[in-house]
Symmetry: C2
């Protein structure tokens, strides 16, 4: 849960990062930025800010803003009915992102949120800079982290059903609750 | 058909427009920009420049750069096998775009390429500025035009099969041939 005051402040910071990265958005769009704490009450450490540009029954386009040293928890996009699951292409717009997927353990530059080794099981590290792209197949476990400068990236995908995403950390609740401030 | 020299010059101009609009692309990506004259040998009047960011079996993301007073000919995205046809969301990044779709004739600000009234049958005009979006359903006929300043826009869609697009102008060949200069 986050307070409305904290939500607004995070939206403002994320909108500024997105605009500084060259993406023009309206004030109304800035106010629609989703501030996600995954129900962990620790937004600065585990969280993400999401601006959704397109959401149809077939495709989804988002811009993700990550604060410095913020980590998006490990998750995957499961099959839903006839859909094999969300296929997602990440493209970095600004900053450096440490991406972790299945494969040989090459963990080096990132860090694991303190005491949560069991929640971050994928340790193949991919260092991504602006213009770098990565395709995540349906069902592929992944997590990622921004370092000191924060980061802004695109997520282009087939239909997103965020509420159905699955997480390694069983304490996670995907849809963030906002308390009256 | 266009010459290689003309292709390179158009790529360079389009890359500059895309970068000025805030989209960071690499030099290699700039060199991949598709210069499309639709086989009409009149690029400045009827044509478009296309930078493809993502092309998978499920989704496609392009950035379109249009030179001043350039028109993309009327076309639609037909069904292919089990696919009802491409669903496309346009979002303007820079400049003003005049978009034409089915509906009441409100044609006012744009112009029809001289002598080609029969090739531009949709006359419902939508004036689009930066951050404006429009969803084109599969099969929906459309054409669009940039005016004096040119324009840059996103096209987010389900799988693109450009070679199968259908055009009102029967002289059109979608895949542009490049001659040795």
């Amino acid at each position: 849960m986050i307070t409305e005051k904290k939500q607004k402040a995070a939206q403002k910071q994320a909108a500024e990062m997105i605009r500084n990265a060259g993406i023009t958005i309206t004030d109304e769009e800035a106010g629609s930025i989703e501030v996600v704490d995954f129900g962990l009450n620790n937004l600065e450490k585990e969280g993400v800010q999401v601006f959704t540009l397109v959401q149809t029954e077939r495709i989804s386009v988002k811009v993700l803003a990550m604060f410095p040293n913020q980590t998006e928890p490990e998750h995957w996009h499961p099959p839903v009915d006839d859909d094999p699951g969300k296929e997602e292409t990440i493209r970095i717009i600004a900053g450096t992102v440490y991406f972790y997927i299945a494969g040989e353990d090459t963990f080096k530059e990132g860090f694991i949120v303190k005491g949560k080794d069991d929640c971050y099981t994928q340790r193949k590290e991919i260092v991504m800079k602006p213009c770098d792209q990565l395709i995540l197949a349906p069902g592929e476990k992944h997590w990622f982290q921004a370092r000191d400068g924060g980061a802004v990236m695109y997520s282009f995908s087939t239909i997103a059903r965020d509420a159905l995403d699955q997480f390694t950390d069983s304490n996670i609740v995907r849809i963030t609750k906002v308390a009256d401030s």
